[in-house]
Structure formats: C-alpha cells, structure tokens
Symmetry: C2
Subunit: 382 residues, 2 copies
C-alpha cells in the first residue's frame, strides 16, 4: 500500500473561533437593516447564499465541500416570497429571544413556539409542519454566517469520547471540570454544542481515533486502548452528528492527526467522507465541521492480502454498497486519490466487503493490534 501523505497539521486554515455575542449582533443587524429599508420605503430583503446542490462545490485547496457564490434574495413585497419572508423573520425573532434568555431548545421546540405565538393572533397556522420551519433556520445560518448552535438551537447529539483530556463545561452557573479519562465504561457523551461555554483543555493525547461502531468503541475502551496509545477515542455511533464532526475538527485544529476506522462498505465510507470533506447537505458549514486531514485506516480490501484469515471473513457486498462504490468513483474529491479508486474497484470486482468487527475474529484484542500497526506503518488511505 502506498503511504499517504503526512497527517498535515499546518496547511489548513483553522476553523473560526466562536464568539458568543456575535449571533446576537448578527440578528440585531438583520432586524435593523429591515427597519431601515422600511423607513426608506424600500422593499426589505434578506440575502442568503444558495444551498441548492448546484451551488455546492468542492474546494480542492481546503479539501472541503462548501457553498459557491450564487446568492438568493428574499424580498417582502413579492407575492411568492412574502409569506416565507415573514416566516424567516419570525424564526429570527424567536432565536433572538432564546439567545437573549440564554436558553436552548431543539428545532422542534422552535416549531412549537412559532405555532403557539402566531396562533394567538392569527387564526391560520403559519407553520403547519416542521418541514416548513427547518429550511428557514438554514437560511438564517447562511445569511448571518452563524451556526444553528450559535442560535441556541440544539441539534441531535450522538457520539462518545474517552481520552486524556479535560472538558471545562460552564453549565448553568457552574464551571464543571470533566475528566474524559475517568468516565469508565460509558465515556463522555459528546453534546450538540461543543463551542459555547465549553473548553477542551489539557489535551495530552497524540492523535484522534474515530471508530464507526459503538460496540467497537466499547471493546477498545475496555482494553484502555486510548490510555495505552495515548489517543482520544471517539465513536460517532453511526453517522457523525454536527457536534461530533465539530469536536473532531477542533481536535484537528489543535494539531492532532485524525484516523478513522470504519466498515469497508457504503455506510462506513460515507461516514468517513462526511467527517473528512463534509457533506452536501451541510456544505454551508463545511469549513467548521470538516476535517480534511483525516485518514482512513480500514477496513480495506488490501487487508485481505496482509491478514490471511480475512479471506474467510468477507461478506457479500449489498446492492447499496456496489452502487455507492460506483458513485464515489465519480466524485472528484475521491477519485483524485488513486488509493481510493483501487479500493472501490476491488469491492466492485469481487462483490465482497469487510466489516470492522471482523478483526475480533482471531481474538477480541486483535483489533487493537491491527489499529496500532496500521498507524505505526502509516498504512491508511487518504
């Protein structure tokens, strides 16, 4: 296997530092702009970058998916846009309230607040379905260059972490020190928001290891892999949430190499590429949550050549796996790496795949040795 380029800490621009007060100022600026327009008898408008698929681009220099330059305007005096304009302002007003009160809720909580308050004065429901309010939140994120988390809207959280590091969580009035090396069998649950009133200090680990499956995380945690290897052990517990992607990026910003160990199938690849380059759906926050320096340590089809027992352990690749492999060969951010082209072609040709749990076959702790060796020998895909 060709050695991939070094874990590359230095070349990337660091993700923007968060400023708790900026979201509030941005919301105030939006409101002031609209009031000024009205005073001047102009048509109030909101300008936002287009989030359509055609405006999602791969930035080869940064190594992330992000939005292009196309913008969209929402104006108030426009039959087709008036309702949506008004809805966006209603969403902004609620978020301003949450930020001012310093209270958080979910996008579903926001939806019910909108349903409640608008329902008081007006007989018609202005939002009937949450599907109507969700894209307006994204509009605001893009228009104001803030993240949902800056607007006090929690996203789904999932993911767990263990390692030699401390979390300073200013929770309520208390400043808690949480030692993520003393969380036992459970690990530390990665929250939705890892930017506000929270700090990661005393990070003594040398690298970050991300393992797709929680069951594998538990296995490695039991072996104290993170302690023996001095790494931060993370499982996204499936697809990585915004919070989990963000913390991986923050640890990368601190100079830690990031290695990902997943199933060698459609889902495992997808989870990896989402962590590395970001995703099309969240391209608008790609520069915050993608970690372009991430490396894929396995499971790969090349492992079959090295570990003889694996030949008996392959599973049949599903239609989804094969279709996904074919699609991935068409993505410029993937097919620019010949190691990935080889890997995907092997899957398509043999119609087989390997799961990460397979490495527990010979003995439960074999998986530890596999990972250690891969990292030591720099045997990973870019």
């Amino acid at each position: 296997m060709k050695r991939a380029e070094g874990a590359g800490k230095a070349t990337l621009p660091k993700s923007p530092e968060k400023d708790d007060k900026r979201a509030k100022a941005e919301l105030e600026g939006l409101a002031e702009g609209i009031i000024k327009s009205i005073d001047r008898k102009e048509n109030p408008k909101i300008v936002t970058t287009s989030r359509t698929k055609s405006n999602v681009i791969y930035d080869d220099k940064e190594g992330i998916l992000k939005l292009g330059d196309s913008t969209e305007e929402r104006t108030f005096v426009n039959v087709g846009q008036a309702k949506r304009f008004m809805q966006t302002i209603a969403v902004a007003a609620k978020c301003y309230k949450f930020v001012t009160e310093n209270l958080h809720t979910s996008i579903r909580g926001l939806f019910y607040q909108l349903k409640y308050s608008l329902g008081e004065d007006i007989d018609e429901n202005i939002f009937n379905e949450q599907g109507e309010s969700n894209p307006l939140i994204e509009d605001l994120e893009v228009a104001l260059n803030v993240k949902r988390e800056d607007l006090n809207l929690n996203a789904t959280r999932r993911g767990v972490l263990a390692g030699d590091m401390k979390v300073m969580d200013s929770f309520g009035n208390e400043r808690l020190e949480i030692d993520t090396s003393r969380m036992g069998r459970s690990g530390w649950a990665i929250p939705s928001d890892v930017d506000h009133d929270i700090e990661f200090v005393d990070v003594k680990a040398k690298y970050v290891l991300v393992v797709e499956k929680d069951a594998v995380w538990q296995r490695l945690n039991e072996d104290r892999f993170w302690q023996k290897e001095n790494c931060i052990l993370i499982s996204p517990q499936g697809q990585a949430t915004r919070g989990t992607r963000r913390i991986i990026r923050k640890l990368s910003d601190m100079g830690l190499p990031v290695y990902v160990f997943n199933d060698g199938d459609a889902w495992g690849w997808y989870i990896y590429w989402t962590i590395k380059t970001g995703s099309i759906n969240l391209a608008y926050i790609g520069s915050d949550i993608a970690t372009p320096s991430a490396k894929f340590i396995g499971v790969t089809m090349s492992d079959l050549e090295k570990y003889d027992f694996l030949k008996k352990m392959t599973m049949r690749a599903s239609e989804v796996d094969l279709k996904r492999a074919q699609e991935m060969l068409g993505y410029p951010w993937i097919n620019k790496h010949k190691e990935w082209v080889e890997e995907l072609k092997k899957v398509i040709k043999t119609k087989t795949k390997l799961e990460q749990d397979t490495l527990q076959g010979p003995r439960l702790t074999f998986i530890d040795d596999y990972i250690r060796e891969k990292i030591r020998n720099k045997e990973y895909l870019p």
Copy 2:
C-alpha cells in the same frame, strides 16, 4: 382525571441480585451435563423455555410480560436439531471464554469469532449470517436463566441520566466514582451493563423522571430540573434499551417512584409500556427489566381540557397511531385500566395527538411547570 393508585414501592418482588460468578457456573453446569450424557451414552439435550409468542403471558400479579411454562428440548442425535445443538454449544463455549477472560464484546463480535474459529477446521461456514447466532444466544439466556450481559455480551446502549447520585464503576482495575450531578450538558451515558462491577450509591433523589426525547431531556437539564426537583432525570433517547430499562428498574427497586413523560402517540405509548410491563420480544427477561410501578404523566388528551392553548397545538394522528391505539385496547394489561381505555378512545375519535415538545409553546420553561404540577397533583395514568 382519576387519581392513579400510589407509586407502590413495597408489593413487588425485587429483581434478582446479580452474581458475577453465576453465569460461569451455569455454563460449566451445561457442559458437565452434556459430558455426563455422552458418558452414559444418552442423547445430550438442552432444555429451554419456549420464546414463541404463544408462550408469552401477562402476569397480572407481578404486572409484567413473561414466559409461560412451555419448554423446548434440543437434542444432539436428531437430524433436524444436530446442527443447531452444535451451534448452541459453540456459542456457549465462546461466552465461557469471554467470561473467563473477563472481556466483553457485542453479539456481532461473537458472530465473527464463531465464523473465524469454526472456519479454521471446517471448510463450510457454520454461521453464514448473524441472524443464525442471535437466537441461540437467547436460547442460552433462557436455558441458563442468565442475561446476555452476564455472558459478557454487550447490547446496544442508548440513554442518558442526570441527578444526585454516584456511580461506582469498577472499570478495568480502577474504581471510578462518577457523580451524575456533575456531568454538565452531556449527562451520564447509560451503559449496556448496569449490573456487573458497577454500583449506584448515595441516591438522594426522590423520584425518577423518564422523558422520551433527548431534546426534552436537554431542555430540562438546562433548567436543572433534576436539581430543583431532586429527581433522577433519564432519557432513553427513543425506545429504551435493555440497559436503560434495567437501570430504571433498579432505581425502582430502591424505592423511587418512576414517572414517564412521552409523546401521546404510538411510539410514546409503546416506549412507556415497554418500560412498565416489558416487551413481548424480551419477555424472557421481563422480571429484570420491567418496572410495573411506572406511571404515565403525559402528554394525554385530557391535557386539552386543562391547558387551553393545546387546542391549537394538536397534530393529526397518523395511521400508525390509530392502528396502535386500537391494538392497545385489546391488550389485557392495558384495557384493565379504564383511564387508558378513555385516553386511547379519545385519540381514535378525534384522530389527533399531542407531542411532548408542544409544552414548550408558551415559553421554553413551561414544560417544567407542567411536569411539576402533574406529579404534585398525582395526575398520571397507571
């Protein structure tokens, strides 16, 4: 609303105490029995209680779903059973190894160990799919009267907890004290196994509050509801896992009343009844993981009479909700409670439902007052 009977601590038999060494002894007993049969030239057999739906009964006295008396025999000298018999012994042997080594894995990890070790000597794969090994694990659980967790097989974990209590987690060689009142925004992640090498001490809380959705848990955690009310705040984060059901039961065994706050729909009811009476699929461990004293505090259709604003906040009940409500009316453990019959009939009649997030409508903290009042006034369904 009729007041439900008291939270009833005393009448239930406590769930069995766990003995770490019992599973090992049971596995040894199984093996010895088989060896003896062979020595005596008898046909080796394994006797297990039938887990078919027809053998799942509702025990009205205990208030749980459990297995009836039908048993099944697996014998070795039997064309139809020989393979399955051998597979069961292979599973038992692996579990014995895990227990002896004091290492844990998932049922997928077990599957790959079986695939590996049998594959060494025999050309044919004895397990092709995990679907073949999973029921054999359940066979063993029932035959030996142990839980998967006793066999060092982790189940899926999910669920989070905060409250005034300490977890003594003997993790590896370290005995960690985890204070679940100092877990900040994250809470303590409930592990798969809450019985072995783990203790819950200094439980100062007065009751347990279970909220279906993690977003609602986060909302209440931010308000420090558990601190103000002195309760243990748990979210199963959807359907409750074995570990989450088990910890709820253990806290109930300590004398704490258990209140559940869910959506008033198919999924919310299902989560509640699974916590309270156990489920058909896991009836074989019902006496360990069901909490018959649990009460349902909402959201209920009767809330519409009390909280006027809710009338504007109902959602259309889905086909699944209506079908489920109809089915539930046929379950003896549900239709024996006339409060539940009334509730379900209201949903069927009005074809509407209420979600727990609705209670954030008037203000984010309204949900706190709602829960407090419900508990104070004992306004819950049995």
